[in-house]
């Protein structure tokens, strides 16, 4: 079956990992191999340094794997200890499933928020378009007409 080795800089909790330096091999797995955590034994190939790879894909098993350890068994044989990358392997299932989630907020998005606060308060003043002018105005209100007896 086909084994493709990759290098990735992304973390374990990333979907749509960026995979580079692909290298294909044809392998045979032992009959008692755990497909969730396979250990893959490979012969040395002159142009390939297995230590440069940390990720792999076995299409026949429909799985992506993290290479957790690379063990040198002898001068000509390496063992790759792998673990299923569940996020990448089942990403289409995950992405298409309905869920209640929280995402990075951006413009136009409203709902409950979860934020990290520094503990400080920000204060902004928004000023009116009109500045009232101080004055010495005095309003004199008078009765109009005559007051009887005055």
């Amino acid at each position: 079956m086909l084994l493709t080795l990759y290098k990735t800089l992304d973390g374990d909790n990333v979907i749509n990992k960026v995979l580079t330096n692909s290298e294909n091999f044809t392998i045979n797995l032992k009959s008692d191999t755990d497909i969730r955590s396979p250990e893959i034994v490979l012969k040395t190939v002159s142009s390939v340094d297995y230590k440069d790879y940390n990720y792999c894909h076995i299409p026949e098993l429909n799985r992506f794997y993290f290479i957790r350890e690379t063990v040198i068994l002898n001068n000509t044989v390496f063992k790759l200890i792998c673990e299923t990358d569940c996020l990448e392997t089942f990403k289409s299932d995950i992405i298409s499933s309905n869920c209640y989630y929280m995402k990075e907020i951006s413009a136009g998005e409203y709902g409950e928020v979860k934020v990290n606060k520094t503990g400080n308060q920000l204060v902004y003043n928004y000023i009116s378009s009109i500045e009232m002018v101080e004055s010495d105005n005095v309003i004199l209100s008078l009765l109009k007409g005559k007051v009887y007896g005055s």
């Binding site: 909790n13 990333v14 979907i15 209100s141």
Partner: protein, 369 residues
């Protein structure tokens, strides 16, 4: 021949009528119209009868504040003494054409009308003073003849309803023409502008809150507080009244008391808030027959705040962390950091893998584009 007739009106439509009468009272012609504040009115050129009488009549809702005439040709002596007769200002005037070459005379009348609705009580009159006019008024000596033939000093301040210092400039549109201040039968000789209305609207301005993120962070633990010039009260505004709106503030001033109704709107037909506040300071004066006058002090706030402003207070967020908003649905076209709290996971993964997926989703994942 030309004469300038200055007629001071208040109020709006069809605010005056000028009847032109012959000496025997026959109304030869009449002019009816609306004169906006500060605009001129030309009495039309015509052949007017000799020794006519002009009667200046305010229409309902209007008031003639005064009438005067000047003759800029010196070709005739109007000899006018417009007097108030039966509620109208009336005067005799020689309107006969002063024609040397057969041309008709031209009469020009400058009519100054007020603007805005008249809310002035018919019982009262309001003047706008400044410190200079206030000093002049205070220096008026008041005497009258007694029945015994002697003179005595009297206090005409019983005509004074209030003397109210207001801290802000009075709106020009509510200020009428200069007229002499009369207290009852006493002409003080002090000229001051009359105030056209006792309820005056003052625009305090519009405020738009900018720098919005246009998302829930605009109101998360955020307060919007409106502070007002010369008014001690501040008011908390609801975020939904502020965001994406322009807040407009208006004072409605009671010229007798200094009380203001603060009206706050945000572009809609209805006010979002309206409340009563106090401004100004009653100037203590000795009133006739009163032993003392109570001091009221400042009724508003004098703190050098001359513009209304909205104070937005919100928590400072850690920029390097993620600020999240809740959503429902699937994660198609969702990118970046995501925490999934509940998911109806449809997958062929085995139980161990499902458990791991749920744990990863709960703790947060990144979805690259």
């Amino acid at each position: 021949m030309a004469a300038n007739i200055d007629v001071f009106f208040v109020e709006g439509e069809n605010n005056f009528a000028i009847d032109i009468m012959e000496w025997d009272g026959y109304v030869y012609g009449a002019v009816l119209g609306t004169i906006p504040l500060g605009e001129n009115f030309n009495l039309v050129e015509g052949d007017y009868p000799n020794n006519s009488r002009l009667v200046v009549k305010p229409n309902p809702g209007a008031e003639v504040l005064g009438v005067s005439v000047s003759d800029n040709t010196q070709s005739w002596d109007p000899g006018l003494g417009f007097s108030l007769v039966a509620g109208f200002y009336s005067a005799g005037i020689n309107l006969a054409p002063y024609s040397t070459n057969g041309e008709l005379a031209t009469i020009t009348a400058d009519v100054i009308g007020g603007s805005g609705p008249v809310t002035l009580s018919p019982f009262n009159v309001l003047f706008l003073l400044n410190n200079e006019k206030l000093v002049k008024l205070s220096e008026v000596d008041i005497y009258r003849n007694t029945s015994g033939g002697s003179t005595e000093r009297v206090n005409e301040s019983e005509y004074v309803i209030n003397l109210l210092s207001i801290p802000f400039e009075f709106p020009a549109e509510a200020i009428g023409p200069d007229v002499e201040i009369d207290m009852g039968s006493l002409s003080t000789g002090v000229i001051a502008p009359r105030i056209n209305a006792d309820i005056v609207t003052i625009q305090v301005g519009d405020i738009t809150v900018g720098d919005l993120k246009n998302n829930s962070l605009d109101f998360y633990e955020t307060t919007y507080e409106l502070f007002l010039p010369f008014v001690s009260e501040s008011i908390q505004l609801d975020y939904f009244d502020v965001i994406d709106k322009t807040i407009s503030i208006q004072y409605v001033l009671d010229c007798y008391t200094g009380d203001v109704t603060v009206n706050i709107s945000n572009g809609g037909e209805e006010l979002i808030s309206s409340f009563k506040a106090e401004t100004g300071r009653e100037i203590p004066i000795q009133l006739f027959g009163e032993a003392s006058r109570q001091l009221t002090g400042f009724k508003g706030l004098y703190n050098d705040v001359k513009s209304a402003f909205i104070r937005k207070t919100s928590p400072e967020l850690v920029e390097s962390s993620y600020n999240l908003v809740s959503k429902n649905g699937n994660l198609t076209n969702v990118f970046g950091y995501v925490e999934v709290e509940n998911i109806n996971l449809k997958t062929s993964a085995n139980l161990v893998e499902k458990t791991e997926i749920l744990s990863l989703l709960l703790n947060g994942i990144y979805i690259n584009e």
